[in-house]
Structure formats: C-alpha cells, structure tokens
C-alpha cells in the first residue's frame, strides 16, 4: 500500500478527475433518460401481455421475456463488446462517452422493464376492474390508473436502475468510455496509484448516495397519504 498524504492529494490530476466526473454524469443522465423512455413501454408491454393480464398474449410474452432474460444474463463487459457494430451503426462511434451510452441503455432497459413489470403487478386488481366497470378503455387504464397508481414504485425502480448504471459506467473504460470508474481502474488497478482510486471511489459512492436519497425523497413526495 502506498502511503496516503495531503501532498499526494494535492499532486493529483484534479482536472482529469473533474473531466471523468463530468463524463460519468453525462453517461448516467443520458442513458437513464433513454432507459426510462424505452424500458417503461417495454415493461408495460410485458405486464399487459403476460398470461391472465389485460391483453394476454402468451407467445409474445414468452419471447419478450426470453429476450429480457438473455440481455440481463449477459455480463455487461460482454455486452459492451458484442454491441460494438450496433453502436457504430447507431451513433457513428463505438468509443468514448457517446459509444458507451448505447450499451449502457441496452444493458439497463431490460433491467428497468422487468422492474416496471413487477411494480405494475402490484397495482390492485380490484382497482383495474373497477375502472373497467366504469368503462375505461385500455389507454385510459394505462395512463389514468396503472401509471399514477404505481408512480412511487416506478420512481423507486428508476433509482435502483440509476445506481446499477453507475456501476455499469465503471466498465465502459474497456471501450475507452471514460468516467470515474474507468479512472479508478486505470490508476488504482493498473498503475497502483491508490490515492486516485480512493478519491474516485469516494466520488462514486457520493454519487450513489445522492441518487438514492434523491430517489427516496421523490418516492416520499409521491406517496399517497
């Protein structure tokens, strides 16, 4: 272990750490937005098409479910590499922050969609039935019942997904994605500069804590009582 002292802390390349921090924030926020935009509809589709649900399509459900499971069981590092051609096609580059966002979204969408499906299943069957009895059509059930009734759960699921994304971003260094995690791996693991690793890990921890408490605060804000 290298000794840790204030002089070392000052000697560190704070500009690089700052840039890495910014990269992480960009990767996180952009991929979170796309994850929710894509994962929410996919989760709703999973929920609706499951056997016994409002629009039961057992075959569709089985195929979607398999796809989600495949994507979720692949280690993220492998996903990063497998997706390079696809990423190149989609954003024109497979490296850097832009190149990392595609695999991040592809990795997180099935995760969030599955969480959404589970959250929606928690909505009281009786409430859905009551809305059907009142003459609600499917889109009214989705937008006026399912989503509002499960809002706290959906926010909670987004929080869990955001935290998972933070750890995914750390691996994006493999494709030169940049960010704090990448810095920690490069300096701390490959060059034995423990102090950089400690600082970046501390920053990542702060980020996760921040995300978690922001998510919790939102859930509390939208709880119904």
């Amino acid at each position: 272990m290298t000794d840790f002292s204030w002089s070392q802390l000052l000697a560190m390349d704070w500009v690089e750490i700052g840039e890495a921090g910014l990269d992480t924030l960009i990767m996180l926020s952009v991929s979170l937005v796309f994850t929710v935009l894509l994962g929410l509809p996919l989760g709703i589709l999973l929920y609706l098409s499951a056997p016994g649900q409002l629009r039961a399509r057992p075959r569709l459900y089985a195929s979607l479910s398999l796809l989600v499971n495949v994507l979720r069981s692949l280690p993220f590092v492998i996903l990063l590499i497998v997706l390079i051609p696809f990423t190149l096609l989609l954003v024109g580059t497979s490296i850097g922050v832009a190149g990392a966002i595609v695999p991040l979204v592809v990795g997180a969408v099935p995760f969030y969609a599955r969480l959404v499906e589970n959250v929606l299943r928690e909505v009281d069957r009786g409430v859905i039935e009551a809305s059907q009895a009142m003459g609600a059509c499917l889109s009214q059930i989705i937008f006026k019942v399912l989503l509002p009734e499960s809002l706290p759960g959906l926010i909670g699921a987004a929080t869990v997904t955001a935290v998972a994304l933070v750890s995914y971003t750390a691996m994006s260094g493999v494709i030169g994605g940049g960010g704090l995690g990448d810095l920690a791996v490069r300096y701390g693991y490959q060059r034995f500069q423990t102090e950089v690793m400690v600082v970046t890990v501390a920053l990542l921890l702060m980020l996760v804590q921040l995300l978690q408490s922001a998510g919790d605060a939102l859930v509390r804000r939208f709880r119904f009582d």
């Binding site: 009281d124 009786g126 409430v127 039935e129 009551a130 809305s131 059907q132 009895a133 009142m134 003459g135 609600a136 059509c137 009214q140 006026k144 019942v145 509002p148 009734e149 809002l151 119904f224 009582d225």
Partner: protein, 343 residues
C-alpha cells in the same frame, strides 16, 4: 304480456364455467332472472354460490359461456368493445373492498368516471363532484386520500363515484360486508335514499338476510350456480320454499318457527302457523279470534319484524281448545287479514 312495471334486466340461461387445473367448476348453471326497473333486487346465497360471478356478468366483467343479458332492451353480449365501454359508463358498480384509486383524493376519485366519459368541461365536472360529495355527506373530506378514510367513508366515495355519470343501474357486490353493523346501516340507508331519489335500479349481492330485509323489493336465492328461489321479499321471507332459503333465514333469526322433531309429540293439539302482514300485525287479532271461536292456544314461537317499512309477524301456536273445527280456522283468520296454515 301487459306489465305496468318495465323490465330493466332480463337474463336468460346464463352459464359460466371456470376451469382450473384441468377441472371444470360450474359457477352459473342456467340462470334466468328478470329485474324490474326502479326497484332494489337482492341476490343472496352462500359463499361460492356464484353471486359475484352473476353480478359481474351484468356488466360483462365476466363473460358468460352462453346465455343472454338484455339491459334496457339492449343485448350486451353482442356489443362491440367500444359500445360496451360506453354502456358501462352508465352502470355504476360498488365493491366490497371499495377499489378506490389510492393516488387520487376523494374528489379526484369521484371525478375519475367523469374524466373517462369526457363529456363535461372542467368546471362542470367540479360542480358535479361537489354535488355528489354533498349527496354522500363527504364534502368535508374532499381533499383526503383513501388511506386517510374509514371503511364507511371509503364506501361513500365508492357510491358517489358509481353515481357520477348518472347511471340507470347500480350494481353492489357485498357493499357492506367489510363494514361494522352501524356503518352498514348508514350505507344501506344511503342506498335506499338513492333508489328513492334517483329512481335508480339497484342490484345487490349479500349473504346477509338482514340486508335483503332492510333494503330489497325482490330477492333471488342462488345455490351452487342455480337460482333456487325468487320473488318479492315478503313472499320469500314468509313462505320460503327452498332449504337454503330457510337456513339463511334461520341463521339471522328471521326463520319460521320450526319445532325440534322431538318436541312435536310432547305438544298436544294441532299446530297453526299464523302470518301477519301490515296492519293486522299491530292489532290484537289472536285475542279477537280466540273469543269468537273459543280458541285457546299454546304460543310456541314468534317473530316480529319489518320488511322495507312493512311490519310482519309470524306465530307458531298449538291449539288446545276450539269451539269450531280446526279446518275452519284459516277462513276465520283470513277475515281478519291473517294467513293461517294448519300444519
């Protein structure tokens, strides 16, 4: 056929089978019913008899395997999905477990069906909500969430919500089963009020004869998916034909006086069952006939009650002495407006 009362619902030969684990469970077996407009129709039966399945067929929440459901002259089974949704907007439904949206306040829950229908402007909706909350006595609670309400208050919200789109039919599936007796009474009184004020047909399900007695005009008894008895409440209470009806009545203390078999031989004389309905209930008929016919009786059991404001009573007596033939007694009692059966 000339009828002075219009038919609201005509159900014919409904069959519904559920299959679980490869086994078939017949929930409704050839059910036919006629429900009059403007009345309160009760459906009673034991747990698992098929009551919920039947009432859920009336707005097609449950689709029967076969049969027909005619609502105000319109066959429901052949409606398209959108036509059915439009029709459902004018059928209110109240649930045992309230089924309110927990993300919405009381006012917003009542507003919900208005939003679904989309026929009123925002101001008109607010006005209608205020009117409905006043009707069910919840004006002071309009900003609360369901989690902050008592069971009775939640059911009032459920009722206001069910009435929002001015339905011509209100379906109640065990609307009071989750409530204590006092709250039950207040909800039943509210339903009776609504039926009177709005001339709204109500179909309700219950397993409690007291609810039928307090509220209903007509009743159907259902057992193992079949209607085993149906008719005006008074008739069914006073002349129950089916054993399930009798045991449901007996459990609530509203049954016929029935003597334990072993007692019969220990009691001398023929037995009479006297049924009083309306005015005679409150008059000393037995005393009067007793003087006329030299009748002396041994009073064995009696009930006195009220069905929707009509007093009725039933006495079981053994005749100890009579100056007239026992066979003539029914005629003599009939003159006083009392039904007498020699058992």
């Amino acid at each position: 056929m000339a009828r002075w009362i219009d038919i609201m619902i005509e159900v014919q030969s409904l069959r519904k089978t559920f299959s679980h684990g490869g086994r078939q469970q017949v929930a409704l077996d050839d059910v036919s019913l006629c429900i009059e407009e403007g009345g309160i129709f009760g459906i009673i039966g034991r747990s698992g008899a098929g009551k919920s399945t039947l009432i859920r067929c009336l707005n097609l929440l449950e689709r029967p395997d076969s049969g027909s459901i005619c609502l105000g002259g319109q066959e429901l089974m052949t409606l398209s999905e959108s036509a059915l949704q439009a029709r459902r907007q004018r059928i209110g439904m109240v649930f045992q477990h309230f089924n309110l949206l927990r993300s919405r306040t009381v006012a917003a829950n009542v507003r919900f069906p208005l939003e679904l229908a989309g026929t009123l402007s925002a101001q008109q909706m607010d006005a209608r909500v205020a009117e409905l909350l006043a009707l069910v006595g919840l004006t002071a609670h309009s900003g609360k969430y369901p989690a902050q309400l008592s069971g009775g208050q939640k059911q009032r919200v459920g009722i206001a919500r069910a009435l929002a789109n001015q339905p011509d039919l209100l379906l109640c599936d065990e609307a009071t089963s989750a409530l204590d007796p006092e709250t039950t009474d207040s909800i039943l009184a509210l339903l009776a009020d609504i039926n009177r004020q709005l001339r709204l047909t109500i179909v309700l399900i219950t397993h409690d004869m007291r609810v039928i007695r307090q509220l209903c005009d007509q009743v159907a008894v259902i057992d193992h998916g079949k209607v085993v008895e149906a008719g005006p409440v008074l008739d069914v209470f006073l002349q129950p034909q089916h054993s399930v009806t009798r045991s449901l009545l007996a459990e609530t203390g509203l049954g016929h006086g029935v003597l334990p078999a072993s007692w019969r031989e220990r009691i001398a004389g023929p037995l009479l069952r006297l049924t009083f309905v309306g005015e005679p209930t409150l008059e000393p008929v037995l005393d009067k006939v007793g003087r006329e016919a030299g009748l002396r009786v041994n009073l064995l059991s009696g009930t006195l009650s009220e069905i929707k404001g009509t007093p009725f009573g039933q006495l079981l007596v053994a005749v100890m002495a009579s100056t007239v033939e026992v066979a003539r007694l029914p005629e003599i009692f009939a003159r006083e407006g009392v039904r007498c059966e020699v058992l």
